[in-house]
Symmetry: C2
Subunit: 238 residues, 2 copies
């Protein structure tokens, strides 16, 4: 009887470990997808674009697997306390990662539209923004791996700089468009690329909140600091 | 003993009912928020804008309440089968509704930026798009209320028209910008408003998928039909 109990506990721990390792796998997959999408845009690399777009289905499939695993864990294991928190957090994190993958694919889809009449210098700001967003994504996947609430909070605060960069790029692109009407279409697509990066940053902070919740049980209620400068009145409007 | 069992079953049913009615309440709240945000933009109504923005906190609070309720249901009631499905679906639907509320607030935030130098006619397309998105949101909340999978599927298919309208508005706004550089800034904000409406449409179809899942147990794997015309190569890129 004791052996049977031990067996059940082991299976449960195995499934929890499985959930965790799938989440980390999904995080790594989305990191690669984003890096590839950014390369597609910055280096006008059509193969990279196709690779980033193609990756989306695998990410979606992984999210569905994770969801089924979570449903099974709930149904069979009746998790409580810290396990319950990390399972609920896991479900929301997999959703956020799926969204990030979706935005990465969308960035890649725009890359062919930027090849012609590309404005000369605005890609520098975009490259900085992409670097920062990728760095935060990497950090939050590490934080998730270790359930490291402190590291998660660092990501949460770092997103402010992403918002500031978006505002800078927005202004720069507006100027390009006004100077030269032929720039309007490619600049609009670049603007959407920047907006997608900003949204990825938002989802990254959502993951940071979930890691904090799983690790500590606390829900972050305060509004996150936003960028200080803005063309909108509110820098992340939109 | 039988009475105690009955009591527990009743409490459980009460909590499930509570989850359902809170979701419907949240749906109604987000519908109102979106209607107010659309009015802010189309009628340059500053009070409506503030009301739509202010509503966001109540929506967020409701999402957190729902999450806590779900965690309690999982921990204490060990739901299975159809109950488990509707609880998991409920968690994801509340996330989607929160995102829709967020997009509605973002639409409202842009409305002051559209007052000056507003392009003359492009608001007609935007008004049609807003009407369709609101109609679909209303339908999906009804479908959720009745767990009506057929109604949910209707919403799922109706989003194609939203994508087509977005493409039309995108082209129209590009033309305005090229004709008149002073239109560039307000048109860019209108473009983001249209994009936000398109994203609300996407989240509405996600809710439709969840209603279908809760009602039937089936996960929709096929890609949803997208708009047929596009300036992107892919109409919903971005």
């Amino acid at each position: 009887m004791a052996e049977l109990g031990e067996h059940i506990v082991k299976r449960y721990e195995h499934e929890l470990g499985e959930l965790h390792s799938r989440l980390i796998q999904m995080g790594g997959m989305v990191e690669t997808q984003l890096a590839t999408a950014v390369r597609a845009v910055l280096e006008r690399d059509g193969e990279a674009a196709n690779a980033a777009i193609g990756r989306d289905q695998a990410v979606d499939a992984l999210e569905r697997d994770l969801e089924q695993l979570v449903v099974r864990l709930f149904a069979l294991r009746q998790p409580v306390a810290v396990d319950l928190r990390s399972i609920v957090a896991g479900l929301k994190i997999s959703s956020a990662l799926e969204r990030i993958g979706d935005y990465a694919a969308n960035i890649a889809k725009r890359s062919p539209l930027l090849v012609l009449r590309r404005p000369p210098s605005s890609l520098a700001g975009l490259a900085s923004m992409a670097r920062l967003v990728q760095e935060n994504l990497r950090l939050v996947v590490d934080a998730l791996d270790l359930y490291d609430s402190e590291r998660a909070m660092r990501v949460w605060y770092a997103d402010e700089a992403v918002d500031d960069l978006f505002t800078m790029i927005f202004r720069e692109l507006m100027t390009y468009m006004m100077e030269e009407p032929r720039n309007i279409t490619p600049c609009t697509h670049l603007l959407f690329v920047a907006k997608n990066l900003e949204r990825i940053g938002d989802h990254t902070t959502n993951i940071a909140e979930m890691v904090h919740y799983a690790a500590t049980g606390e829900v972050l209620l305060d509004a996150r600091p936003k960028g200080t400068t803005s063309v909108y009145g509110n820098p992340s409007a939109g």
